[in-house]
């Protein structure tokens, strides 16, 4: 049996898969100690832990440790003269007109930042040797006095030569056994010292927390008779065994959204769809990701609380548009939706918990797509009157009917999501019309059709159990690890050959790491070269087709690069400019083999009911189906509403819906 347990902010979801059978469990999360919620989900599901072979886990432990500043007491060490690296940052402001601006605060105080005499040059050669005497005499006693649990080291140009960092780490470990030491070259072997230092610091900061958490979790599992493999989700869309995760804590940030993308990708692939735009619409936000040929796009950098993290993550863009997002009118008279959210408490007005501001979920009730008596499969009864009341002020303000006001709010929420999708598609040179839209999360399938229309997308793939896709993603994801190294060289045939050689070394290193993790099997590799025109500062990543790896030459690579540059920036293809390689990146993936099925729970045939939906300025009469009662091949012609246990799908006029053999609901736009 494979089990995925995903700890979210509000709910902890569990998906257990065995043969064709699937068990879905939802319990409230326990933010103080997420493992309690996770075990509550395991208990509630009634699963015998000794039967679980594969337990995939995703949690917000690492993310919360940073956001709530609950990581380890950490010291930071830089090259002499650069102790303030983490406070200097990039000297810029995120909001240019904010007089009271404050920089993102790193989770370390200035008193805990130290420096050491040494300096490397850009090519890795030594300008000033590491002063070991000074380290022993001054730095080590200062570290001892500080009572730190972790130390982060980021020396200038260490990406080009890790010797000084390694030696310094060894001296510290020797003098302070038990203190966890993290070096920048281990975490991100790339240039740009602030971004690398921030990544190193955050890694050192969360590592002891993750370590402790996983340790507790494993002990509890063992007590309960679990003997299978325990794995943890990463932000790059792959898993790692819990043991390995303790050395790679930084990749545990934002694992939840990544698991969702992987789950949606895997499930859509069953129906043959591999070029996708996924959007996960939850309570407060919507996460969007572009998937090319079955592989989610990666970004080389992300941030948490304004602090940069330089490790590959799934390229997920988040906007404040969810079921709880509030519609409001600003002081210039413009109607807006989000980013403020009613959250789970008080929640939308229809929750009847005291919320009076109109939220997206209220709008759905007003226009009829959500039935007050059938929310979350009937487990929660909503107050339809409260929802209507909440929209009254907006209706009055613009001289609209209540339905029109609600419908306007939904259109604005859709527009926000459309912009997020444009950010990951059109702005990166991809045409959304070439992709299928895969909505999930509780509210996704309700909004999908209109968003697809805005973008010219003609196919929508609604996965079964759209509300627990993240938990499914945990058991459907592969094992993944990335390596990257900055090696700046002007692109010519020799450099291309050198890149091929470096790639081979990186593959060997990754293979050894997988062997260490006791993960045998054939690895799949993705090779990316980050290149730029000589003189530029930002690189464009170009993936190298596997069949060309053995025969790389300068002309071929510069052609690949110029095309990619032109796709994004609308210039470059015809430029006769020199190109340089900056960073080489390899991703290694161990496929998990058979992907488990995510089937819908089936109910006996049930006749459709009636629904009245406000659409395009008019009330439409349409059918209301139960998702669990649909038969494969049954064609539903919009307008229609399809209610499921975890999500409702809206099929507007001009669209058809059909359940396919993979149990996905496929929506198509009629010509």
């Amino acid at each position: 049996m494979r089990v995925g347990v995903e700890v979210g902010g509000t709910f902890t979801d569990l998906v257990a898969v065995e043969g064709g059978r699937i068990v879905v469990t939802k319990v409230p999360s326990t933010p103080r100690s997420p493992d309690v919620g996770a075990f509550a989900a395991l208990t509630a599901s009634g699963i015998d832990l000794s039967r679980i072979k594969d337990l995939g886990h995703g949690s917000t432990v690492a993310t919360n440790a940073v956001l709530e500043r609950k990581g380890a007491a950490v010291a930071f060490i830089a090259t002499q003269g650069f102790r303030d690296l983490l406070f200097m940052q990039r000297h810029d402001r995120r909001n240019i007109y904010d007089l009271f601006y404050a920089k993102p605060a790193p989770p370390v105080r200035r008193k805990d930042c130290f420096e050491t005499p040494e300096r490397l040059r850009a090519d890795g050669s030594v300008e000033t040797p590491l002063d070991e005497a000074a380290i022993r005499a001054k730095l080590i006693p200062a570290l001892k006095a500080g009572d730190y649990r972790a130390v982060a080291i980021c020396l200038l140009n260490a990406y080009a030569n890790p010797d000084h960092e390694q030696r310094l780490a060894a001296l510290i470990t020797e003098a302070l056994p038990g203190v966890l030491v993290t070096c920048s070259h281990q975490v991100a072997r790339e240039f740009r010292e602030f971004e690398r230092a921030s990544t190193t610091l955050l890694s050192a900061y969360v590592q002891p927390v993750i370590d402790g958490y996983l340790h507790r979790f494993e002990a509890k599992l063992a007590d309960a008779g679990f003997t299978g493999r325990f794995t943890v989700m990463q932000s790059n869309g792959g898993r790692l065994p819990a043991e390995a995760m303790r050395q790679s804590a930084i990749t545990a940030l934002y694992s939840g959204p990544a698991a969702g993308v992987v789950g949606a990708t895997r499930q859509a692939a069953r129906s043959g769809y591999k070029d996708l735009i996924t959007f996960d619409m939850g309570g407060t936000s919507t996460d969007v990701c572009l998937v090319q040929d079955g592989r989610p796009s990666l970004a080389s950098e992300s941030e948490i609380d304004g602090l940069p993290i330089r490790t590959p993550v799934l390229d997920i863009v988040s906007v404040g548009a969810g079921g709880g997002s509030i519609a409001w009118v600003d002081d210039g008279g413009m109607l807006r939706v989000g980013p403020q959210s009613a959250g789970a408490d008080p929640g939308p007005a229809c929750y009847g918990k005291g919320g009076i501001e109109p939220a997206t979920t209220d709008a759905h009730i007003v226009i009829g797509t959500i039935r007050p008596g059938a929310f979350l499969g009937g487990r929660m009864t909503l107050d339809g009157e409260a929802a209507r009341l909440a929209f009254e002020p907006i209706a009055a303000r613009f001289g609209l009917g209540i339905e029109q006001a609600a419908s306007s709010a939904l259109q604005l929420a859709d527009a926000n999501i459309v912009r997020a999708i444009q950010l990951v598609s059109t702005e990166r040179g991809r045409d959304p019309r070439d992709y299928a839209l895969v909505p999930f999360g509780g509210a996704g399938p309700l909004h999908a059709a209109r968003i697809a229309e805005e973008l010219g997308i003609s196919t929508i793939v609604v996965p079964p159990n759209a509300g627990v896709i993240s938990a499914y993603g945990l058991v459907a994801s592969d094992y993944t690890k990335f390596d990257a190294v900055t090696r700046k060289m002007k692109l010519d045939d020799a450099a291309a050959a050198e890149a091929g050689k470096t790639f081979a070394e990186m593959r060997a290193r990754l293979a050894a790491q997988f062997a260490d993790m006791k993960l045998p099997g054939d690895l799949d590799y993705i090779h990316t070269l980050e290149m730029r025109f000589v003189g530029q500062a930002f690189e464009v990543g170009v993936e190298i087709p596997p069949d060309r790896l053995g025969s790389l030459d300068g002309a071929y690579l510069s052609g690949l690069f110029a095309d990619a540059h032109h796709r994004t920036f609308m210039h470059g293809a015809t430029l006769d400019r020199a190109v340089e390689i900056v960073t080489l990146r390899v991703g290694a993936t161990l496929p998990i083999g058979t992907v488990p099925r995510l089937d819908r729970e089936k109910l006996a045939g049930r006749a459709p009911g009636q629904a009245k939906i406000f659409h395009d300025e008019a009330w439409l009469d349409c059918a209301r189906y139960t998702a669990e009662a649909l038969a494969p091949g049954q064609k539903i012609i919009g307008p229609a509403v399809i209610e499921g246990y975890t999500a409702t799908t809206w099929v507007p006029p001009g669209w058809t819906a059909e359940l396919d053999p993979a149990d996905n609901l496929i929506l198509r736009r009629s010509a």
């Binding site: 003269g81 303030d84 240019i96 740009r192 002081d331 210039g332 109607l335 527009a415 444009q422």
Partner: protein
């Protein structure tokens, strides 16, 4: 003009803002020179067909403010009806809507069905446009010595760029043509992206709706600004600040502002400001306007009000011709950011009397341009970086430490990227400066020090900065911030103190120490909470306990 529903308006306006933002991101990311790609000294936006700013990528406030002025100067010469597809407009003329020579504005008309509906606009600070010295000629006594001037003019992209005559003219007159032409290309591409996005919107929603949204966006900002002004106390308020000197004498250059807040408008009069000067500290009208608008916007309105032409409508400014803030040609203007900051400070001081809770004390508030150049066998190598300092404190917050000043927003270049790109110098220190800020109930932001080691002979340093002489003043009892300095530690052990506007030859082994000061404090230090003092003491940002003197006095 058609009436837009709330949905169409919200959707189209947000899409226009998103397009401007995309233009800005791509301008920076595909640029070549460190000043544009790392320091991000460039901006982008969308304009309507009349030359009004509609939406902007929020990058550099100074460049953003008067883009409309710059475009309208072009349109006066080349009316919108005369433009043809493929044309672009260009302007960097400080006396015809531009700011200073390095900031080149390019406008690309957006044609839909044969008619111009608006313009894609971008501006970039170019590393070198010729002139009397690489990157920065601090000795220029007129604008001709500051580099190539493009008066408001029109060219055809296919014919005149891409190997055409205009491109070759530029190439032949700049010292690092590879980077400069690359940066121009990034500007053209950013404009093309804006053009494409607006065309897509017109296709999707109809040209009339898009144009209506452009107009409504300006009205919207205007309404919000007027609403904010209506809440402010009415009356006339005075503020004054000064530039250290003009680089030749020791005479301060005084900037005076009289700010009158009426029912729903604000008038700012700079009568009494000193006359224009012989060196590059003159501030063209566009720059004065921009600095004044930025201050009013920052103080009066919430940051989410989109900056466009409507924002400027309720605010009028009067600047005497021939003064420091509206110089006659051919005055040199390269360092116009420095007087522009005094405009910002003088207006802020006036507003402080009306709205003490919404202002900040004076910060270091200065653009320090730091330029190193070297002529090697392979041609010129030019390094230019912009430094800010510490922000002023407010009623509720300490000033921001070590950040670019309010009118600008330049990033630093990573030290590791300088190590890769330059072989004639190396940064050997970059640290927060303890005690550099003014104390108060809230303290100013800390300034910082950079140490730069010279690795070759025959290196030139040119700087312009300010507040080497006149410190930023605190508000309501807050203490002043520290003054800046620039020193050269010669290889032979001697130390040379530089003026705030200076150029000097350097040799291998010299170390340049550049210090930019902190911001001033707000309120009396006696009111500063103990925990905040203790924290700064522990962090080494404060080396003397201000309570010690108090205790002593009490005993």
């Amino acid at each position: 003009m058609i009436q837009l529903g709330p949905i169409d308006y919200a959707v189209i306006s947000q899409a226009l803002i998103a397009s401007a933002r995309e233009m800005g991101v791509k301008l920076i990311r595909s640029a070549y020179s460190t000043i544009l790609r790392e320091a991000r000294d460039g901006s982008a936006g969308l304009m309507d067909r009349f030359g009004n700013t509609v939406a902007q990528a929020e990058l550099i406030p100074m460049q953003l403010g008067p883009i409309g002025e710059t475009l309208r100067a072009c349109l006066r010469r080349h009316p919108v009806e005369t433009l043809e597809e493929g044309d672009f407009l260009i302007n960097n003329d400080p006396f015809e809507g531009g700011q200073h020579i390095p900031d080149v504005f390019i406008f690309t008309p957006i044609f839909v069905a044969g008619r111009v509906v608006g313009f894609g606009a971008s501006v970039a600070h170019h590393l070198d446009l010729g002139g009397g010295a690489p990157g920065l000629n601090i000795h220029a006594s007129d604008v001709y010595q500051e580099g190539l001037r493009f008066p408001p003019s029109k060219y055809d992209f296919q014919r005149d760029w891409n190997g055409g005559s205009f491109e070759r003219l530029v190439t032949a007159n700049v010292r690092v043509p590879d980077l400069t032409i690359g940066d121009f290309n990034a500007q053209f591409a950013a404009n093309a992206i804006g053009v494409m996005r607006v065309k897509q919107l017109c296709e999707r929603y109809g040209t009339d709706k898009v144009e209506a949204a452009m107009k409504d966006m300006q009205d919207y900002s205007e309404r919000r600004v007027r609403a904010a002004i209506a809440l402010a106390p009415k009356g006339t308020f005075y503020g004054e600040d000064a530039v250290d000197d003009d680089g030749l004498t020791d005479e301060p250059l005084v900037v005076k502002a009289k700010v009158t807040i009426s029912e729903d408008s604000v008038e700012i009069d700079f009568e009494g400001t000193c006359a224009q000067v012989k060196r590059n500290l003159n501030c063209p009208y566009s720059s004065t306007l921009s600095a004044a608008l930025s201050c009013v916007k920052s103080v009066l309105t919430s940051p989410d009000i989109p900056y466009n032409e409507g924002m400027a409508r309720p605010i009028t400014i009067k600047v005497p011709y021939g003064s420091l803030l509206n110089p006659r040609p051919p005055a040199p203007v390269r360092a116009r950011m420095i007087p522009a900051y005094r405009v910002f400070n003088a207006v802020m001081k006036a507003l402080a009397q009306a709205l003490p809770d919404k202002v900040i004390a004076t910060g270091f508030d200065c653009t320090t341009a730091f330029c190193l150049s070297h002529l090697g066998e392979k041609g010129y190598s030019v390094y230019l970086e912009i430094f800010g300092g510490g922000y002023g404190a407010s009623r509720g917050t300490d000033g921001c430490d070590a950040v670019d000043s309010p009118l600008s927003n330049c990033s630093n270049a990573p030290v590791e990227s300088l190590d890769i790109d330059y072989d004639f110098f190396r940064i050997v220190g970059y640290e927060l400066a303890p005690d550099s800020f003014g104390l108060g109930a809230r303290r100013g932001g800390a300034g910082f020090t950079r140490h730069c080691e010279i690795l070759r002979d025959d290196v030139q340093l040119a700087i312009y900065s300010d507040r080497f002489r006149l410190a930023p003043q605190g508000l309501l009892g807050g203490e002043p911030g520290q003054r800046g300095y620039c020193r050269v530690h010669r290889a032979n052990g001697t130390v040379e103190e530089l003026r705030s506007k200076a150029a000097i030859d350097l040799a291998k082994g010299d170390i340049v120490e550049m210090f930019v000061g902190g911001g001033a404090g707000f309120g009396r230090v006696e009111e500063r909470p103990d925990a905040m003092i203790d924290r700064d003491l522990a962090d080494g940002l404060l080396t003397r306990d201000p309570r010690a003197a108090r205790k002593l006095a009490a005993e």
